[in-house]
């Protein structure tokens, strides 16, 4: 099979799967009141989604969720990069901090959400804080590993070519760390998004998570599912964008 044919097959199967699910869904709700109560009607869900975009109501909420995602990601990454570099290049410091970092990382972060709400209020910053705690550790461990795993021969070579400490950091350690960070972009962006939505869900006045929370309060299952579908689409789109970014950033890793 040629790649083009393969692609067609893959896509038609995917669409067929969605079609089958939808049909099964419609049949189920037509035959049972209980299914109708638990699942809602796909048609109403589609209408909700359409209304959100048609009236423009959704853009403010979506914008806030994405802003929180972006802020969590950028702040989490920057902190992790600085701290990761600093610790990876200071053996003693790394040994001192090791149990604290492992401890903080194994702490269940979601429990912190109410505390962040107290510290940072119900606005976007409590959600950003939650996202940052999720993103930070993934990136931090990658930066740390990326720097520790630099081959000694690369360092020796750079030094023979005239690298001083500053050059080593800029031209060897950081690029090596970045390659590890990029390879975990899917995970870290995904976590930033999860942090934002969960934060909203646990208490907020705006954002897609807030819409879902509000609808759940009135057992409006269709709005909840519309929100979930919107979030899933966003997550997939983010993931796709990251794949594109990766391809251009990690050109040197391609075979």
């Amino acid at each position: 099979m040629s790649p083009a044919v393969q692609r067609t097959v893959v896509w038609s199967c995917r669409l067929a799967l969605i079609g089958i699910l939808l049909v099964a869904w419609v049949i189920a709700i037509n035959h049972s009141k209980i299914a109708m109560f638990f699942l809602g009607s796909p048609k109403v869900i589609a209408e909700h989604l359409f209304q959100w975009f048609a009236t423009g109501k959704i853009f403010r909420h979506l914008g806030i969720t994405l802003l929180e995602t972006m802020l969590s990601f950028v702040i989490g990454c920057s902190l992790a990069l600085v701290l990761g570099l600093w610790l990876a290049l200071n053996d003693i410091l790394a040994r001192i901090c090791d149990p604290f970092i492992k401890g903080l990382n194994s702490m269940p972060r979601l429990i912190m959400a109410p505390i962040f709400a107290v510290w940072f209020g119900l606005g976007i910053w409590s959600k950003v804080a939650l996202g940052v705690t999720l993103v930070f550790f993934v990136v931090f461990f990658n930066v740390f590993q990326g720097i520790r795993e630099v081959s000694p021969v690369l360092i020796a070579n750079a030094r023979m070519l005239g690298a001083r400490r500053r050059d080593l950091v800029r031209r060897v350690y950081i690029p090596s760390a970045m390659s590890w960070v990029f390879s975990s972009l899917h995970l870290s962006v995904g976590l930033a998004f999860v942090g934002a939505v969960i934060g909203e869900y646990l208490g907020s006045s705006a954002g897609v998570g807030y819409l879902i929370l509000e609808a759940e309060g009135t057992f409006d299952i269709e709005t909840v599912l519309a929100g979930v579908i919107l979030l899933t689409t966003c997550a997939l789109t983010l993931d796709y964008i990251i794949t594109l970014v990766e391809e251009s950033l990690l050109k040197w890793q391609a075979k």
Partner: protein, 297 residues
């Protein structure tokens, strides 16, 4: 070999030195005296390992010296000491008459393992040293491209190491080292990973470049044939531990040489036989001490 030493015009920095004529004349490019390297024990019940002991080797200005010896005997260790990357446990290194402290800034080093930065293109790798020495981007790039062309890689400037063949990577590494115009060249089995044809091509290229500006070269190799065809002098190292030079041979085969033809000359065959006799003993010793061995010859 003496001829090459004396015919060679004095370089600028040697001329500019305040020492008299004779001190300049006698300063070897590299002088290793009484070098001992002991590596700490890997675990508590193991012994520290003395790889090389009391090694004296010198490299004349403009001389090409090959170092051969059994695998694991300490050849790379000696180059690392000469490069200033590894501090010897005992002994002294002097570079053009000055004691070495820290990195040897006169030396360029082609490593045994692959050492190109994978996130830089061929051009980026070659211009790296220039940029770190404060050369402006544009000029560094231009000089890097000129060197890539010289090693036969015009058109491959934008490739990343992953996209180059083994031989091409070695060429980039050669350009990366030579673009800084070091007066001393340390080469650790630079061509051993290459197939025989590519290797002979690169050996001939190296000889051409070397005869153009007579750098002082320390060339480590497993391969006696390569050592004899390239060098002015071949130093044979003993089996480890406590390696030291056991014999030294002058190679008075006239230059310019062609490595593909030289191996048929009777002079070469005679030298090869005499050196191999000694090297073989060391290789066998090293083998008997339970080390891995790659016999050559």
């Amino acid at each position: 070999m003496l001829r090459t030493l004396h015919e060679r015009p004095r370089t600028r920095s040697a001329k500019g030195r305040t020492g008299g004529f004779f001190t300049t004349m006698s300063a070897a490019a590299l002088d290793l005296r009484g070098i001992t390297c002991t590596f700490p024990a890997p675990s508590r019940d193991a012994e520290p390992y003395t790889a090389v002991r009391d090694v004296d080797i010198s490299l004349g200005d403009g001389e090409f010296v090959a170092i051969v010896g059994p695998t694991g005997c300490g050849k790379s260790t000696i180059l690392n000491v000469a490069a200033g990357l590894l501090a010897a446990t005992a002994g002294e290194v002097s570079v053009f008459g000055t004691p070495l402290a820290g990195i040897n800034s006169h030396a360029g080093y082609m490593f045994q393992a692959e050492a190109l930065l994978p996130w830089l293109t061929a051009r980026g790798n070659v211009s790296l040293g220039l940029e770190m020495h404060g050369v402006a981007r544009a000029e560094a790039t231009q000089r890097a491209d000129a060197w890539l062309e010289r090693v036969g890689l015009a058109g491959f400037e934008e490739r990343y190491p992953k996209q180059l063949s083994g031989g091409m990577k070695k060429r980039v590494a050669l350009a990366q080292t030579l673009v800084l115009e070091p007066r001393i060249l340390l080469m650790d089995e630079p061509f051993s990973a290459l197939d025989i044809q590519t290797r002979q091509l690169m050996e001939n290229e190296l000889l051409d470049m070397w005869s153009a500006d007579r750098k002082s070269v320390f060339f480590v190799t497993h391969d006696l044939e390569e050592a004899i065809s390239l060098a002015d002098r071949v130093v044979v190292m003993s089996a480890g531990p406590g390696t030291k030079p056991v014999a030294e041979f002058k190679v008075d085969i006239p230059r310019p040489r062609d490595v593909t033809e030289i191996v048929q000359s009777p002079h070469y065959l005679d030298l090869h036989r005499r050196i191999w006799e000694i090297l073989k003993k060391e290789v066998l010793k090293s083998y008997e001490r339970g080390k891995t061995m790659v016999p050559v010859g």
